[in-house]
């Protein structure tokens, strides 16, 4: 199993986001659906330890995430946030941001842009001047540069029109085929979850997720 969550409790202020959540996420493409405020983004943050639960255990490939090197975990389990961030400089600089932090070997920016559905012509352009949809693809390429085993995608098409949304969905499905990365995709769109999903998990008003 890719991820397992056992007895997870998360409170934010006075509100319980998760109250004894149990969940298992398998390899492949998993869509996580549920209404706004139910904790979908919080779930992704638990999976790569941007946050820890107040109680309970999160396991990645059978090991408690707290036992793993957190920086290495985040490179293996890369999160692509809902809205693009860190868009200073050129697209090429944005794409190589994560690998430069890690001091890793150079990457093929054009190949990464192609995987994210952009042409190499984008590399020298100012990232901040791209459309939101293009920026989202740049953030996807930036995460792929880390050669992750899992991509966590938080509402990857929320800011896009229907045409662009369909293109991103095709890109994600291609990624799964071409680089064998597992995807955990948070979406409020059940139809999208069905289109993408080998697995669909539903976060309800309460705590239990259905596999």
């Amino acid at each position: 199993m890719l991820f397992e969550l056992e007895g997870v409790h998360v409170r934010r202020g006075q509100r319980a986001v998760f109250d004894d959540l149990h969940m298992a996420i398998a390899e492949g493409i998993t869509s996580v659906v549920g209404p706004s405020g139910v904790g979908k983004s919080t779930l992704l943050r638990l999976l790569n330890r941007l946050a820890d639960p107040d109680r309970g255990v999160v396991r990645y490939r059978g090991r408690d995430v707290r036992e793993l090197d957190v920086l290495e975990l985040r490179r293996q389990v890369a999160l692509v946030a809902q809205l693009p961030a860190l868009m200073d400089g050129t697209v090429a600089e944005a794409v190589t941001f994560g690998v430069r932090l890690a001091g890793s070997t150079p990457v093929d920016v054009e190949e990464l842009l192609a995987l994210a559905g952009l042409t190499g012509d984008f590399a020298p352009r100012a990232a901040a001047r791209l459309s939101v949809g293009e920026q989202q693809r740049v953030t996807l390429a930036r995460a792929l540069a880390l050669r992750p085993e899992v991509l966590l995608l938080d509402e990857p098409t929320s800011a896009l029109d229907a045409h662009a949304r369909s293109a991103v969905e095709d890109t994600l499905l291609d990624l799964r085929r071409s680089v064998a990365v597992s995807l955990v995709v948070v979406t409020h769109d059940r139809a999208q979850a069905q289109r993408l999903g080998q697995h669909v998990l539903e976060l309800g008003d309460r705590t239990t997720a259905l596999a």
């Binding site: 941007l50 890369a78 999160l79 946030a81 860190l86 941001f97 994560g98 932090l101 880390l146």
Partner: protein
């Protein structure tokens, strides 16, 4: 040095005429600052008279331990005061205390070691006071900026953390901006000194009858000492504070609700 200037209490009281002007402007423009001006005038008089007695006693005793005790008290009070300017920085007092203490000790220690000033209360107290005052302002500005930027840039910081950045890497650009914010005002005033304004020490020496180049030399020494002290204070305060926004697992702490 030459004979000191002497002002009578009546002459000091006469300068209150300018305070009356400030209050009149506040009333006229409905700026609602009369009370603030009154408090500022009263506090400045009480505090300076009190510290005048303290300095007089320290100078009379000529014991360096008393001078160091006074400077330590100023560091402590400076850290308390600067903390209020950084409400978004968790636990800002200790980084500020260390920053001001380090800035004072390093700069005063260096100028004494280089034989710029004698290690006597007559030099240490006024120079230390200037160093601590400027270091406090710079550290407070730096931490104020740090708190603001950490809050408004949370999304960028988390994006960096999510890509495997350490807390120091994720907060690096903000820490650098905060450091610059603390240092730039003094750098700018150092650039324009003598052109747009005469700095206080030089004015004081000229009023006291010193030769202009004696005043210039002392002012230059103090400006350079202050540049060093604000750099040390800002760097120390920012370095010790930015880590407080993160957990040991390189997670951004949620702002207090």
């Amino acid at each position: 040095m030459t004979a000191a200037i002497h002002l009578s209490t009546a002459q000091v009281a006469a300068s209150l005429a300018l305070v009356a002007v400030a209050i009149a402007i506040s009333l006229w423009q409905r700026a609602d600052l009369e009370r603030e001006i009154g408090v500022a005038v009263a506090r400045s008089a009480i505090q300076l008279i009190a510290v005048g007695y303290v300095i007089d006693a320290i100078f009379s005793s000529d014991r360096i331990a008393f001078a160091i005790a006074l400077l330590a008290a100023m560091v402590l009070f400076g850290a308390f005061t600067a903390r209020k300017r950084a409400p978004d920085v968790p636990g800002a007092f200790w980084p500020l205390l260390i920053a001001l203490g380090l800035a004072a000790a390093a700069t005063i220690g260096l100028v004494v070691a280089l034989d710029v000033f004698d290690a006597t209360p007559r030099y240490l107290v006024p120079v230390g006071g200037m160093v601590i005052g400027n270091a406090m302002t710079a550290a407070a500005v730096s931490l104020n900026r740090l708190g603001d930027d950490m809050r408004t840039s949370a999304r960028d910081i988390e994006a960096a953390l999510a890509l495997g950045a350490t807390a120091a890497q994720a907060a690096g650009p903000i820490a650098r901006r905060s450091l610059r914010s603390g240092m730039i005002p003094l750098i700018d005033s150092t650039k324009t000194t003598g052109l747009i304004f005469f700095p206080g020490t030089m004015v004081g020496m000229l009023l006291a009858g010193a030769a202009p180049f004696d005043a210039v030399r002392l002012q230059l020494v103090l400006l350079y000492v202050l540049l060093g002290s604000v750099a040390i204070a800002s760097l120390t305060a920012v370095t010790l504070s930015h880590r407080r926004f993160f957990t040991a697992a390189h997670q951004l702490r949620e702002p207090a609700e």
